[in-house]
Amino acid sequence: MSGGVDSSVVAGLLKAEGHEVVGATLQLYDHGAATGRRGTCCAGQDIHDARRVADALGIPHYVLDREARFRSAVIEEFADAYARGETPIPCVRCNQTVKFADLTALARDLGCEALATGHYARRAEGPEGPELRRAADPVRDQSYFLFATTRDQLALCRFPLGGFPDKAAVRAEAARLGLPVAGKPDSQDICFVPQGRYHEVVARLRPEAAEPGEIVDREGRVLGRHQGLARYTVGQGKGLGLPRREGEAPLYVAALDAPRRRVVVGPREALPQAEIAVGEVNWLVPPPAAPLRCQVKLRAREAPRAAVVTWDGARARVTPEEPAIAAPGQAAVFYDGDRVLGGGFIRRG
């Protein structure tokens, strides 16, 4: 229970269905420190909201201290990834560690029969066990962020919001249940980064990722200076600060060369890759022995594209039908229609 509308509705729905519901809220970071406000409690308003909702529903509620775990598994990994020249997705790391690995373990320790969350995804019982599917609402679908959930974890998970047509319906449900958070605004993208200034967080933890360096073209010619690798991602065309060259094609980030602290740029057509390497793969189907024809989503806000995934037992190779831009550190998630087959993290080619 994050204290937001979604998980509050989940708790309310399950309680109304007659389940014995136990609320859990993760204390992930020192809220006062993250927002730069001295003297505030380690807990933000969200924890108090979660407690109010639990009280309103009459369910036990616990605040779980996961600050140390979140710092090492999510925040430091976030900064490390930038220092490696990648573009991380901290929400996936959080789901993969603090949320689903640790909370499923706690749920089992407490003798719970299921772990329900407010994620927008669907879980279906298939012939080979539980399947992860896209949410009914394509705008809210979070299945991309859940690819790393293991089959064992998925067995325990429930996503009661997956079938809701849209957020308005969830808010209406919150109001119907009389929850005190029905009108609360949606949360921001990265919870531990105040006001979206993520490069300040990175600079504090990994100063080298914030050090200036050269912007070069693919032949190594120096075109300008950059303000730290953490400010760039593969495919980015804005914010390079290069002088506009008359009659020439605009330049985009083609690669981030962390060892030499260089941003490598090239024309748009030079960016797409015919083949994309994917590591840390989690399969939600039996790992395919032969090349798998499916759809692959290479970033959160884009549609899946037709591709072939080849699995060698350790890494996956994604061959999109048309070459595609892929940023190392982002997730490549494999779909068959609505169903998530698996996914992994994009590696440097």
Binding site: V22, A43, I47, L64, L106
Partner: protein, 363 residues
């Protein structure tokens, strides 16, 4: 089945004697500082409470300062006595004391949780006059520091001694004069009174500047209208809390400790301890998990020090005792004055069920 409350060190259930005293004081009304008859009646009750509390803990009435609670009593002593002195803090002190010291050196404890007297002697000899802060009984483990020896060391080196007696008061024999301490902090709700009142007892002749000057109440040591109902409850609870009755709690505690089963151990087991407290360490199982599992089974215990957010923080007490990673695996059981005779069996049944489930989940 009714829940089983084993968290007396967080707050004791209200004693009936305290309840009667609180209600009587609420009905009495009046401000002890008023000159009229209503004020005089309130003043009479206040001073009577002061005398009773002083008598109960071996202090003189004029050296009892009523505060809003144990935290304030501790802060009043540490801030007041610590001025111009270096402060030596026990490693297992409560946050009420630790947070009140602006700068402090930490005094280590031995593996059983008692103060390292050799280290204390060395520190006292090594520098200018100090204020030593050591608690009578630890809130998490119940371990008692050897106060008489500590006081003798402090006297020999010209150091002042502040004793946080919040957990010890009413549970073991304790007196300001007998302890040799300069100041002793008490809390009403840990004695079975209501929350909202505490007291600092001062050695005869010792004086302290106020933290809250206000209208000069409490002989200028603590401003603000005295919370008379809470103070009346404190005095009544202090008289009702009879260390002799603790023998019963010690027997209940021993039955719990005897039935924990293999793998679990008791922190500070070899040291003198409060009769009502046991800190059970179950290696490999987070204290948080144990507290939640037991709560869902109707058994109220705690772990570490609860932050106002409700999260379970790691235990600095168990860390100071050298438990390493197991410092995150200890829960505190503290029997209240009215613990039922079947408390050990009920706890142990829930405990065994929790351990069975944990081993199934691990398999």
């Amino acid at each position: 089945m009714a829940p089983l409350y084993l968290d007396a060190n967080a707050t004791e259930p209200l004693r009936p004697e305290a309840r009667v005293a609180v209600l009587a004081a609420l009905d009495l009304g009046g401000n002890p500082s008023s000159v009229h008859a209503a004020g005089r009646a309130a003043r009479r009750l206040l001073e009577e409470c002061r005398e009773r509390l002083a008598a109960r803990f071996g202090a003189r009435p004029q050296e009892v300062v009523f505060t809003a609670g144990g935290t304030e009593a501790n802060a009043l002593a540490v801030r007041g006595l610590g001025r111009g002195r270096r402060v030596l803090l026990g490693a297992t002190e409560h946050a009420a004391v630790r947070a009140a010291a602006r700068e402090a050196e930490t005094l280590p404890v031995l593996a059983d949780g008692t103060a390292d007297l050799a280290a204390l002697a060395a520190r006292l000899a090594a520098g200018p006059p100090a204020l030593v802060c050591l608690m009578a009984a630890n809130n998490e483990t119940g371990v008692l520091h050897p106060l008489a020896e500590i006081a003798a060391l402090c006297r020999r080196h010209g150091a002042l001694l502040h004793v946080d007696a919040v957990q010890a008061a009413g549970r073991v024999p304790l007196g300001l004069a007998a302890s040799g301490a300069d100041t002793l902090a008490l809390s009403g709700h840990k004695l079975g009174g209501p929350p909202g009142a505490g007291a600092l007892l001062l050695r005869p002749g010792l004086d302290l500047p106020a933290l809250i000057p206000g209208g000069g109440q409490e002989r200028g040591r603590r401003g603000g209208t005295e919370p008379l109902p809470a103070i009346a409850g404190l005095a009544a609870a202090a008289e009702a809390a009879e260390p002799a009755a603790a023998g019963r709690l010690a027997r209940l505690r021993d039955r719990i400790e005897a039935g924990l089963g293999p793998g679990a151990r008791v922190a500070g087991a070899g040291a003198p301890r409060l009769p009502n407290t046991t800190c059970v360490v179950l290696p490999g199982v987070a204290a948080e998990t144990q507290v939640i599992a037991l709560d869902l089974a109707g058994i109220r215990v705690s772990a570490g020090a609860a932050c106002s957010s409700g999260k379970v923080a790691r235990s600095h007490v168990l860390e100071a005792m050298g438990l390493g990673p197991d410092a995150a695996c200890g829960i505190r059981l503290s029997l209240p004055w009215n613990a039922p005779e079947e408390a050990p069996e009920r706890f142990l049944a829930a405990w065994a069920e929790m351990r069975r489930r944990l081993s199934r989940a691990a398999a």
